[in-house]
């Protein structure tokens, strides 16, 4: 019930933040209406970082505690992170065409490393399908999730480390948070969208975690059923039909 309430509040928040960003905030002097795309784009990008960071932390936790609940958190983070990364890329492309004149540029480090991040975690999800054993799968996936997370700081700092089309962070340091260069209405729209998306993200994470737990139980039941069937078959072949008849 509480989770459902969280979902409803998140949905209402996204609707309100969208209305504010589209109809209340004025168009940017230089970028025009395209500026409005920044709100869901930035929110998606931050939540993608958060999702993959969660996957990496849950992976470290799994390797330490060997608790499959942590693996369920890791897979939830990876799947939802892939979704939000795709949204961030799409939003960036829709903003880039009117402002930069191009949808995409492979020479830009931010764009390329973000595409790599998406590929890494799609790979993580595919990698999980390679083995049936939950413990082995969780351990291997944890390592992949931790290694892939190395790309998160590279994506984030790429705009400072290398030159490219992508601008530097508008709000990235404590000084910029306290004294943002953007007008107050723009910052409110951005923070509001991030907050609303975060609630939806939390709701999806909880639901995906619940799904992972149930899937694991179903899988475990099937695995135990196969083991018990194999044992029965082995005992019948060892006893033999003649001895079986004497019983």
């Amino acid at each position: 019930m509480r989770v459902r309430l969280l979902g409803i509040i998140g949905l209402a928040g996204v609707a309100a933040a969208t209305g504010f960003g589209l109809f209340v905030v004025p168009a940017d002097l230089n970028q025009g209406d395209a500026q409005r795309i920044m709100y869901p784009h930035v929110a998606s990008a931050w939540l993608a970082y958060g999702s993959f960071g969660t996957t990496a932390l849950a992976g470290i936790g799994y390797l330490w505690k060997r608790d499959l609940r942590l693996d369920a958190i890791a897979v939830a983070g990876a799947e939802i992170g892939v979704i939000f990364t795709a949204f961030a890329i799409w939003g960036g492309m829709m903003w880039g065409r009117p402002v930069w004149g191009v949808f995409w540029q492979w020479e830009d480090p931010r764009l390329t490393t973000t595409a790599l991040l998406l590929a890494l975690y799609v790979g993580y999800l595919l990698f999980r399908r390679l083995t049936d054993d939950p413990a082995r799968r969780a351990a291997r996936a944890a390592v992949v999730g931790i290694v892939a997370a190395i790309d998160i700081p590279i994506v984030h700092f790429s705009v400072e480390w290398w030159r490219g089309l992508h601008q530097g962070p508008t709000i990235g340091s404590p000084d910029k948070v306290l004294n943002p260069s953007a007008p107050a209405q723009f910052v409110i729209a951005l923070v509001g969208m991030v907050a609303a998306f975060t609630l939806v993200w939390l709701y999806l994470m909880i639901r995906r975690y619940q799904l992972a737990r149930i899937e694991w139980q179903i899988e475990e039941h099937g695995r135990l059923g196969r083991i018990s069937a194999a044992r029965r078959a082995a005992s019948v072949s060892t006893v033999g039909p003649a001895e079986e008849g004497l019983r």
Binding site: D33, A34, I37, F87, M94, L204, I214, R247
Partner: protein, 53 residues
């Protein structure tokens, strides 16, 4: 395409995608819960396993 067209395309895909993913996730969760319940009922209804003599 005008700026407004790009704004509509961006918001449409992101918000529509979010809604579609949420709906798909809830459907997957419902199907998994039903399967889990069915397995539990079958396990309860099944006869106890043979014990060795």
């Amino acid at each position: 395409m005008s700026d407004v067209g790009f704004v509509i395309a961006a918001y449409g895909v992101i918000l529509g995608g979010l809604g579609l993913y949420a709906a798909t996730l809830l459907r997957r969760l419902r199907v998994a819960r039903e399967a889990s319940l069915r397995i539990r009922r079958e396990a309860e209804a099944a006869p106890p396993p043979d014990r060795p003599a």
